[in-house]
Symmetry: C2
Subunit: 377 residues, 2 copies
C-alpha cells in the first residue's frame, strides 16, 4: 500500500541564496510523500537520502517501508526531498542555467548540507508543515538529520542519524579527493565540459568502485567472493578495448573484479560526473560546529558545546564494521547529545550496513518509534 500512496512532486523557488553567497535563480526541488497528515499535523517523518539516493525512498530503503514497518505510511506522513546537485530532479549541474540557457555543468556553485536543509524547509512550509516528529537518515542523510536540528531549533523533535558524523573526517575528505582525481583524469571528462552524449563513464565508474569498497569491509568481500573466478570477460566498462584485451590476457577475471566492473558500469550511466563531484565537495563542508561557536574554544569543546544544544533522546545507530564513518564517530555524537540512545549493529556489511541490514535497522528504528511516539502505535 505504501507504493500506491506515494506522491511525487516538484516545488519551485524563484531564487535561493546559498551559504556561499551565490544566488541560484529558479530552483526546483524534487520530493516524494507517502501517507497523509493527521489533523494535529504532528505525524511528519522526514527521511534524508544518502549520496547516491533520491527522493523516492522506495528505490533505496524499500525493506523499511510498508504497513507495520519502521516507515509506515498508515501512521506517518513521510517526506523525502532530493538534495541540491543530485541528478534526480532537484536543481543540479545537469539543470539549465536560466541566465545562460545552458546546463551549469562544472560551473554549478558549491552547496552545503545547510543549503539543502533551508531549501527543503521551504517545501515543508509550502505543505503547511510547522513541525517534524522525527528525522531519519544514514551517511550523508545522517549529516542532514543533524543539520535539520541545528538550523531550525525545535522544528524537528526526534532524530535517528545512522553511520554518520558530526564533521566530515580527514579520511572521508581524502577519499573524496581520490574520486575527484579519478574522474578528472578520465579522457572524456574535459574539465567537466563533456557532451551529454559523451560523459566520462569509465572515470565515474572507477570512482564509484572505489566508493563501493569504502562502503563495505574486507570480511564482507571474502565472505561473498573469496578467490572465485568468473567465467567470461565480465562486463567490460573500458572505453579502450585494446587496453582491456591486453590487460586481461592470460589473467583470470575474479568474481570480485567482475562484480565491481558490473556495479561501476551499471551505475555510471544513471548518475553524472559533475553531480558526483559536486556532492563529494558538499560533504567535505560538513561540520556542525562551523560558525556556531566562538573561535576561542578548542575543537572538542566546540563540538560538545554544539552537541549539547541538540534535542534530547535521539537514536544513534552504528555499523560495527563501518570503516568510512567508524562507530567511534557515532559514539561521539551519543556522548554529546542529551539522553542519546546508541545502538551498534553487529554486522560485517561495513558503512552500507544501514541499507543492507534492513531487518536489524527496521527493528531498532521501530522499537524507538513505538517508545517515543506511543500515541501513534
Amino acid at each position: 500500500m505504501s507504493l500506491r500512496s506515494k506522491k511525487q512532486s516538484v516545488f519551485t523557488v524563484s531564487e535561493f541564496t546559498l551559504d556561499s553567497g551565490f544566488t541560484l535563480p529558479r530552483v526546483d526541488v524534487a520530493y516524494c510523500t507517502w501517507g497523509s497528515l493527521n489533523t494535529a499535523r504532528n505525524n511528519v517523518m522526514l527521511i534524508c537520502h544518502p549520496f547516491t539516493g533520491c527522493a523516492d525512498v522506495e528505490k533505496w530503503w524499500l525493506p523499511l517501508m510498508d504497513h507495520g514497518k519502521a516507515f509506515d505510511p498508515s501512521r506517518w506522513f513521510i517526506f523525502c526531498a532530493n538534495v541540491l546537485g543530485s541528478p534526480f530532479g532537484t536543481t543540479s549541474p545537469l539543470s539549465f542555467n536560466p541566465c545562460t540557457g545552458k546546463p551549469y555543468g562544472p560551473e554549478f556553485p558549491c552547496t552545503t548540507i545547510r543549503d539543502d536543509v533551508r531549501l527543503h524547509r521551504m517545501v515543508l512550509d509550502h505543505l503547511g508543515i510547522s513541525q517534524v516528529a522525527v528525522a531519519v537518515g544514514g551517511s550523508m542523510g545522517g549529516m542532514t538529520v543533524l543539520e535539520w536540528q541545528l538550523c531550525f531549533p525545535g522544528f524537528v523533535q526526534r532524530a535517528i542519524p545512522m553511520a554518520t558524523c558530526a564533521k566530515q573526517s580527514a579520511w572521508c575528505i581524502a577519499w573524496g579527493e581520490v574520486k575527484r582525481q579519478i574522474i578528472s583524469s578520465d579522457r572524456a571528462f574535459k574539465g567537466g565540459y563533456y557532451a551529454r552524449d559523451r560523459p566520462p563513464l569509465q572515470g565515474l565508474a572507477a570512482a564509484r568502485m572505489a566508493g563501493l569498497l569504502t562502503y563495505r569491509s574486507s570480511a564482507s568481500y571474502e565472505d561473498r567472493f573469496g578467490r572465485k573466478i568468473q567465467r567470461g570477460t565480465g562486463c567490460d566498462i573500458s572505453t579502450d578495448v585494446k587496453a582491456e584485451s591486453k590487460y586481461d590476457t592470460g589473467r583470470p577475471l575474479y568474481a570480485a573484479q567482475s562484480y565491481l566492473r558490473y556495479k561501476g558500469s551499471s551505475f555510471a550511466p544513471t548518475f553524472d560526473a559533475n553531480c558526483y563531484l559536486h556532492i563529494v565537495s558538499k560533504m567535505d563542508t560538513h561540520d556542525i560546529t562551523r560558525d556556531r561557536v566562538s573561535a576561542d574554544l578548542d575543537e572538542d569543546a566546540a563540538l560538545f558545546a554544539v552537541l549539547g544544544t541538540m534535542p534530547r533522546r535521539p537514536l544513534i545507530i552504528s555499523i560495527e564494521s563501518d570503516v568510512l564513518c567508524p562507530p567511534q564517530e557515532q559514539k561521539l555524537l551519543a556522548a554529546g547529545i542529551p539522553e542519546a540512545e546508541f545502538v551498534n549493529i553487529a554486522s560485517i556489511a561495513g558503512h552500507d550496513g544501514f541499507l543492507v541490514e534492513s531487518e536489524l535497522i527496521n527493528d531498532a528504528v521501530l522499537k524507538y518509534l513505538r517508545r517515543e511516539f506511543s500515541m501513534f502505535y
Copy 2:
C-alpha cells in the same frame, strides 16, 4: 657502516620460463647485498620488498638497517632482489624486448610471485649460496617469504612474514581492479601504449592515492590532518588546469587533500603505469595452495595442508589497524604453521605499519633473531 658496505649488481639470465609458460629472453635481475658471507655460508638474510619497493632496502626500510639493528650487516649477509615487472632494474614493461627492439609496455607477460622466487634463486646460486637462514618481508614481500619456503623446501630456515596473507583476498583483488580502472581511464594511458615522455601521470597518481589510503587507517588520518585547511592550492597534479580551477573554486583545499595530491604527484614520475598494473596482477595470482593440494580438499583443508608443511617457528607480525591485510589473515598463518610465533603491533598506522612502526618492528625482529640465531649474537 651498512651504507658503505652496500653492493648493487645486476645478474643476467639468458632466458627464463614463467609459470604462464611464456619464455622471457635475457632477463636482468637487480639486487643489493650488505655485509659478507661467513665461512660456514650460513648467515644469509633474505629481504623481500613490497609493491613499490626496490632491491635497495635502505630506500624503504633504513631504520631497521645498521650495526645493532635487526638488519645488521656486521652479522648478516643481507640480500634483496627486485621483482619482475618492477621499474627498478629487473626486467619489466620498461625493458626492451630483444625480439622486437621495443619496450614490452603492456605486452609484458604476466608473472607470479613464484616466478620471482625461482628467478632470485638463480642469483643466490650464482653467489654460491645454498641456504638462507632467515627471509623477511611485509605485504607483497611477506607473500614472497611464504613462497620461498614452499618453492624450495628446506632452503629457507626461518621466516618473518608481516602484514601479509596466504592468498590475495577478494578485498585486495577488488582494490587492484579499482587501480586498473583508474589508470586505464586516464586520457594519456592509451591502452598502455603511451610515449615514455607522455605517461599517464594523473591516473597513476590517483591509483597511488587510493593505494595510500588502503595502506593507512581513518584514525591515522584524523590524528594527522583532521579538517585542517591548507593555504594555497597545494600541489596540482591535474593535467587539465581548467578542470582544477573550476573544481577548486570557492572550496578550501584541505590538508588531507593537499597531502594526497603531493604524495600522488611525487610518486607518479618515479614509477610506471604498466609496471604498476603488472605488479597489481602479480599479487592477484598469490595463493600458496595453487597446484599444491589435491582438488578434492575444501579451501580450509587445502590451506592447512599447505601451512602444515612449512618450516617451523616463523615470526608472524600483524598491524592491529591493518584494513588491507587484516590481522585475522596473519592469525590464520600462525594457526597453520608449526610452532608459529604471532606478534600483533598495536598501532593506528594501518597496513603501512610494518614500515612506519620501525622501532616496534625492529624490536620484535631483533628479539626473534637473537633467540633463533643465538650463534650470531
